[in-house]
Symmetry: C3
């Protein structure tokens, strides 16, 4: 109690009393490195906040099967950087300009989940951010880390 009361007092003034903001701790990942982002397009490939990991939409190159292989490999590498795997993915949103083609190549995607699948929504849209003609699929993920792990860090 002798320790806690002064701490609450300090907290009150630093957070509210002197107009400081309610900033959060974000662990960004971009281009293979932590604490990086793309300042040209203005985004980070992934951000961990608390124990929730938000991963930006990712595209690939080549045929539909090759795009899926590249997308899920890249997303898997981001998960790995945070100490996670596809087991940690809870929501997948897939945007594509050709949903029937993606359905026909779903086996490529499914292999990455190793039989443990997330909640998912797949939508056919008009165009992705990339103007490349072989940018036909974009996949974004939400993953969770164990709370115990994120508290230790």
């Amino acid at each position: 109690m002798k320790i806690i009361l002064p701490l609450l007092f300090i907290s009150f003034f630093t957070l509210h009393g002197f107009g400081q903001s309610n900033q959060i701790i974000k662990k960004k990942f971009h281009d293979g490195k932590f604490n990086q982002q793309d300042t040209t397009a203005g985004y980070a490939e992934a951000i961990l906040v608390d124990n929730t990991l938000y991963i930006s939409g990712w595209i690939g190159r080549g045929t539909i099967a090759e795009q899926l292989q590249e997308i899920y490999t890249s997303l898997g590498n981001i998960l790995k950087a945070y100490g996670a795997t596809y087991q940690n993915v809870v929501k997948e949103t897939l945007f594509t300009t050709d949903i029937e083609a993606v359905k026909n190549n779903n086996a490529v995607r499914k292999a990455f989940y190793k039989g443990d699948f997330p909640a998912a929504t797949w939508i056919q849209i008009t165009r992705l951010f990339s103007a490349r003609p072989d940018a036909q699929i974009e996949v974004e993920l939400i993953a969770h880390l164990p709370k115990s792990i994120t508290k230790e860090k």
Copy 2:
């Protein structure tokens, strides 16, 4: 203190020391049952992680009004399975091939929320996952459960 230090020591080795993964506890729901998923399409209708519930995009059959009725009835049943109601829904994303028709039938949807509405985004897109001609609407939800409840479980 005598108890906590050894626990931290054990935690260090189980979580990091022996290469174990940071797996999370997921409570999946699919086709009316917990711990189920669709291994053909590769998804689960819903996943609870911590106290956040991610529900996959859901479609219906028939007219626009009938599709909305079926979708929100089905989503309500999923919520109910987790002990939740539409009061727990914090974010709704609605994808449709005919947004004006959905707006004209919004009363069907609104009845389910009983006057307590979520944050929402509605988007008109080109095509849904289902190739059925009457698959014109797909709705996905994020719901939260009370933290106290999820801790008790």
Copy 3:
């Protein structure tokens, strides 16, 4: 221990024993005020649950640059109402009917983030909720507040 055991007993009966629901505490914001929502369309501009803030898709008026300016100004005002800034934004989803035009005007958007960017996905779609011809961009956000702050409230 003398205090905790009876509390657990009460909790058991209030939460499970008498059929009460697992309702959550939501802090809604709409049209410049807390505890408001739009009962016509059936949504709230923003909902805070635990320390996660879900902000509904937002549109603007005028040219693409003017729409972006209005959208991010409005979203910034919502963040401010909750004591947050763009620093708290962890995920941005941008839907537009003209993604190349948005890319060409990205500088307008980027200025709001002040060099600290979120995870983001941009998608070109067919039509937004609004039927206005100058409703070409809709942006939704997920922001997090510090856990310590939300506990104090």
